[in-house]
C-alpha cells in the first residue's frame, strides 16, 4: 500500500473525528449550555458574572445553601447561588467576581463545619467551570487545584466527557417533578423514609470511624495505609478542621471590601449531624473569633434550632418544610442588613 494511501485512510478518520467533536461542541456551546435551566450551576455562574443588578443579595454556599434558603421567604432581590459540593475553595472565585461589582448590598454565606475545610479529597465539578474559563478567577481556582488542562480551551475537546452532565439538566425535569424551585434554590419534598435510610448510613459511618480509631490505638501494626486513608476521610467529614489559607482568604476579602456587609449563617443542623461533630465548641469559638476580628461580618447561628426530623431530607440537608421555616426565621434576623 502506498504511503499517501495510508495517510489518507488514517487521517481522514482523524479529520472525521475532529469534525464530529467540533459539531457536538458547537451545539453545546451555542445552544445546550446557555439553555440550561436557570438554577443549574453553569447558569448560576453565568448569572453571577453577567448580572449587574446593584440591589441583588447573593447567597453562597454548598448544597446545604441550595437546598435550605427559600429566597421568597427571605426578602426581595435575594438569589441563591448555592451549588452542590462547593466548599470555600469553590466559593472563593464566586466571591471575587461578586466583589468586583460596583455594589453595596450584603453578601450571605452559608456555613457549616465543612465550609473552610481543605482536603485533597474535595472534588470540583468541572462541568460548572469549563464554560467560564475566560474568567480569570475561575481559571486560577482550577489551576490552583490541579484541575486545569489546556485541552479545556481547545474547541472540540473542551467539553469532552461532560456532555452527559449538561444533558442531565434536560433530563432532570422528567425525574424530579416533585422538587420545588425558587430563585436558584431547589428543594426536596418531605419524605420520612428517605431520611431514615440516610440516618442509618450516617450511623454506620460513625461506627466505622470509631472502629478505625479503636484499631489505630489498640493494634497499630494491623492499621494499614487503607485504614489510615479511610480514617482521615471520616475525620475530615465529621470533624471541624478549618484550613488556615481558606480562612485567611475569606478575611482578606472582607478586609478589602469594607463597604460590603458579610453575613455568615450557620443554618439549622439535624441532631444526627451534630452528634457526629466532636468539636462543636471549637466551631462556635471559631465563629466568635471571626466576628470579633472582622467589623463587616455578622454571624447568625441557628445550629441548635431544634427542627423536627420531618424538616430534613437527610442528616445534612433540609427539605421544603425546613427551608421555608428557616428562611422565615432568617428574614427577621436579616432585617437590619436588607
Amino acid at each position: 500500500m502506498e504511503k499517501w494511501q495510508i495517510y489518507k485512510k488514517i487521517f481522514s478518520v482523524g479529520l472525521a473525528a475532529y469534525l464530529i467533536a467540533l459539531g457536538i461542541d458547537l451545539f453545546f456551546d451555542k445552544y445546550a449550555i446557555p439553555n440550561q435551566r436557570h438554577f443549574s450551576n453553569v447558569r448560576k455562574i453565568d448569572r453571577l458574572i453577567n448580572d449587574t443588578n446593584p440591589a441583588e443579595i447573593p447567597i453562597f454556599g454548598s448544597s446545604v445553601a441550595r437546598r435550605g434558603y427559600f429566597c421568597d421567604s427571605i426578602g426581595p432581590n435575594v438569589y441563591n447561588y448555592g451549588m452542590a459540593g462547593s466548599l470555600f475553595n469553590a466559593i472563593y472565585p464566586l466571591l471575587q467576581i461578586e466583589l468586583d461589582k460596583d455594589k453595596d448590598s450584603p453578601i450571605i454565606m452559608d456555613f457549616d463545619h465543612h465550609t473552610f475545610l481543605y482536603s485533597e479529597l474535595i472534588q470540583l465539578d468541572l462541568s460548572n467551570y469549563i464554560p467560564h474559563l475566560e474568567n480569570d478567577y475561575i481559571k486560577t481556582m482550577m489551576v490552583e487545584h490541579g484541575k486545569y488542562d489546556w485541552s479545556y480551551e481547545v474547541p472540540g475537546c473542551r467539553y469532552f466527557g461532560r456532555y452527559m452532565d449538561y444533558s442531565r439538566d434536560f433530563l432532570k425535569p422528567k425525574f424530579e417533578k416533585e422538587e420545588y424551585i425558587n430563585c436558584g434554590g431547589v428543594f426536596y419534598p418531605p419524605r420520612e423514609k428517605v431520611f431514615q435510610r440516610y440516618l442509618v448510613k450516617r450511623t454506620e459511618m460513625l461506627k466505622k470511624k470509631a472502629e478505625l480509631r479503636d484499631k489505630k490505638s489498640t493494634d497499630p501494626t494491623l492499621f494499614n495505609l487503607s485504614d489510615s486513608k479511610r480514617l482521615n476521610f471520616l475525620e475530615a467529614l465529621f470533624n471541624f478542621e478549618p484550613d488556615s489559607t481558606n480562612v485567611a482568604r475569606f478575611e482578606g476579602l472582607m478586609a478589602g471590601n469594607i463597604n460590603r456587609q458579610f453575613v455568615l449563617v450557620y443554618s439549622p443542623q439535624n441532631w444526627s449531624k451534630l452528634e457526629g461533630l466532636e468539636n462543636y465548641e471549637e466551631v462556635i469559638d471559631f465563629l466568635v473569633g471571626l466576628e470579633a476580628r472582622n467589623p463587616n461580618l455578622k454571624i447568625l447561628d441557628y445550629s441548635l434550632v431544634e427542627f423536627p426530623d420531618t424538616y430534613y431530607r437527610d442528616s445534612g440537608h433540609m427539605n421544603i418544610l425546613g427551608a421555608k421555616a428557616f428562611s422565615s426565621m432568617l428574614r427577621k434576623d436579616l432585617q437590619p442588613y436588607l
Binding site: A21, C157, G161, M205, L222
Partner: protein
C-alpha cells in the same frame, strides 16, 4: 501519557506520519525514541529502570547464546531472573513483605520497624518484567536465538503500544515483526482503525461511565446496601473487562497500523461455562505466560506416572495464587487468585464424576452453567475491587444481611449513574456481538457511529487504566 488523552492522540498522529515517512532502517530508532518519550511522560526517572532491565537481559541473552549447554547458560538465566524479579520485588512487594513481617513478629512480642519506601510503582513494571523474563527463558531453553542488536531488543522491551499494560509478547513473535519491513494492507488499516475505535468506546464510554457508579458504591463500603453491592459487582465485572480489553484493543490497533500483529488478549470472557474457560479467554497473554513458565515446569517437577489429583490441585492453586499476587501486593489479590485456583480444582474434580459428564451434554445444563459460572466469577470480583480483606468481609456481610430487593433501595443514591451504566453496558454487548457484521457491511457508517458515541458519551475520567497499576 494515557491513551484517552489529547496528548496521546497528537503523539499517535505524529508517530504515524513520521513512521511512514522515513526509510525502514531508521524506524527502530524513531520508535524507540518515541517509546521512551511515551514512558517518560509518567515519570522521567523510571526510564532508567527499564533501560537497566533491557541492558541486563540483552547481556544475559548474548552470553547465553555463547554457551553450548543448558548448564552453562543457567548462570546467566539466573542473573536475568534475579535482576528482573529483584527490581519487581523492590518496587512492588517490598513494603508489603516488611509490613507483614512486622505483624508476624509482633505476634511473638518482637517489635521491629523495617524501613519503608514511599515509592511510586513504575507503570507497567509487571508487564515488561514478564516480557523480558520470557525472552531470557526462551533463549535459555534454546527456543529462540538471542537478539544481537541492542536497539531492536530495547524496542522489543519498550514498544509503546503494549509497554504499560500488555499484551505480554514473546520475543519469538514480536522481534521478527519489528525487524521486517511491514507490508501494510488496506485490511490492516481498516482492522487497526476499527480496533482503536472499539478500544476507545470500551474505555471512555463503557468503563469510565460504569466507574462513577462502581466507585461510589465501593467507596462507601459502610453505607451501601447489599443490592447496591451486587449491582456494583456486576458492573465492575463489565468495567474491568472494558477497561483492560479497551486498552488492549487500542494497543493492538495502533500496532497493526504500523504493520505489527500483537496477540489478542481477550475473547469475550464474561460468558463462560467454567473457570478454566474463563482463563482461556481473559488476559490470554498472561495465562499463556504462566502456563509455559510456571504451571508446566511446576507440574513436571513430579514424573507423570507419580502425579495425582493432590499434586495437580497444589500446582493449580499455587499458580493462581501467584497470578493474584502478580496483580498487586495486597491480601485481597492473593485471595482473588486463591479463589480462582480453588474453583478450578473443584470444577476439575467434579468434571470427573460421571453425572457431570452426562449433564455437560445437556443443553439446559450447559446454559445454566454459563449463568452460575458468570455469577461465581462476579462473586470473586469482590476480592479484586475491595480495598482490603476487612472490606471484603463487610461487603459479603451486607450482601447476606442487607439485601433488599426494592427499587427505592437501588435508586436511593447514584440513580443517574446506574441508569446510564446499565444503558452503556447493553451498548457494549450489542457492539461486541453484532459489531463485526455491522463494520464490514457499513464501514463508514460504523466508524461515524463509533466516533459519535465516543465523543458524546465518553467520560473525561483522568484516572489511568485499571491495569496500569499492575
Amino acid at each position: 501519557m494515557i491513551f484517552n488523552s489529547l496528548e496521546f492522540l497528537i503523539f499517535f498522529f505524529v508517530t504515524i506520519l513520521v513512521y511512514f515517512s522515513i526509510p525502514h532502517r531508521y524506524r527502530w530508532m524513531f520508535l524507540l525514541a518515541g517509546s521512551y518519550y511515551f514512558y517518560m511522560c509518567w515519570k522521567v526517572e523510571y526510564v532508567l529502570l527499564i533501560m537497566f532491565s533491557t541492558v541486563v537481559d540483552f547481556w544475559a541473552g548474548v552470553k547465553m547464546s555463547e554457551q553450548k549447554t543448558k548448564k552453562e547458560r543457567r548462570i546467566y538465566l539466573l542473573a536475568s531472573v534475579f535482576v528482573n524479579l529483584g527490581v519487581l520485588f523492590f518496587f512492588k512487594y517490598y513494603n508489603f513483605f516488611t509490613h507483614n513481617t512486622e505483624v508476624l513478629l509482633s505476634q511473638f512480642n518482637i517489635f521491629h520497624d523495617f524501613r519503608e519506601f514511599d515509592l511510586l510503582l513504575p507503570v507497567g513494571i509487571s508487564f515488561y518484567t514478564f516480557q523480558t523474563l520470557s525472552y531470557s527463558i526462551d533463549v535459555y531453553r534454546g527456543d529462540i536465538k538471542a537478539e544481537k542488536h541492542l536497539g531492536y531488543f530495547a524496542l522489543y522491551v519498550t514498544y509503546f503500544p503494549q509497554l504499560v499494560a500488555g499484551p505480554i509478547e514473546r520475543a519469538g513473535r514480536l522481534l521478527p515483526q519489528l525487524r521486517q519491513e511491514p507490508n501494510v494492507t488496506v485490511d490492516d488499516i481498516r482492522y487497526g482503525i476499527n480496533k482503536i475505535l472499539l478500544g476507545f468506546f470500551k474505555k471512555v464510554v463503557v468503563a469510565d461511565t460504569l466507574a462513577t457508579f462502581v466507585d461510589e458504591v465501593f467507596g462507601n463500603v459502610a453505607g451501601s446496601t447489599g443490592m447496591q453491592f451486587y449491582l456494583a459487582m456486576c458492573l465492575f465485572a463489565i468495567q474491568i473487562y472494558s477497561d483492560f480489553s479497551g486498552y488492549t484493543d487500542i494497543a493492538i490497533g495502533t500496532a497493526r497500523l504500523m504493520g505489527v500483529n500483537l496477540i489478542e488478549n481477550f475473547d469475550r470472557p464474561m460468558w463462560v461455562h467454567s473457570f478454566r474457560e474463563f482463563w482461556s479467554k481473559w488476559h490470554i497473554s498472561l495465562t499463556r505466560w504462566i502456563r509455559d513458565y510456571m504451571y508446566r515446569p511446576m507440574l513436571n517437577m513430579v514424573p507423570k506416572w507419580r502425579r495425582n489429583d493432590i499434586w495437580n490441585a497444589f500446582v493449580t492453586i499455587s499458580v493462581f495464587t501467584a497470578i493474584g499476587f502478580w496483580h498487586g501486593a495486597k491480601w485481597t489479590f492473593v485471595a482473588f487468585g486463591f479463589y480462582h485456583g480453588f474453583m478450578m480444582v473443584i470444577q476439575r474434580l467434579l468434571g470427573k464424576l460421571s453425572i457431570f459428564k452426562k449433564l455437560n451434554k445437556n443443553m439446559w445444563y450447559y446454559f445454566l452453567s454459563g449463568v452460575w459460572n458468570s455469577q461465581l466469577i462476579i462473586f470473586g470480583i469482590v476480592f479484586f475491587r475491595a480495598q482490603d480483606i476487612q472490606d471484603v468481609y463487610t461487603i459479603f456481610y451486607h450482601l447476606v444481611t442487607d439485601f433488599r430487593l426494592s427499587t427505592g433501595e437501588i435508586f436511593l443514591a447514584y440513580r443517574f449513574q446506574l441508569v446510564v451504566s446499565v444503558l452503556v453496558s447493553h451498548l457494549l454487548i450489542y457492539t461486541l456481538y453484532f459489531g463485526d457484521s455491522l463494520k464490514f457491511k457499513y464501514n463508514w457508517l460504523y466508524i461515524f457511529a463509533m466516533l459519535f458515541l465516543i465523543m458524546f458519551f465518553g467520560q473525561d475520567y483522568k484516572d489511568n487504566f485499571i491495569y496500569f497499576q499492575f
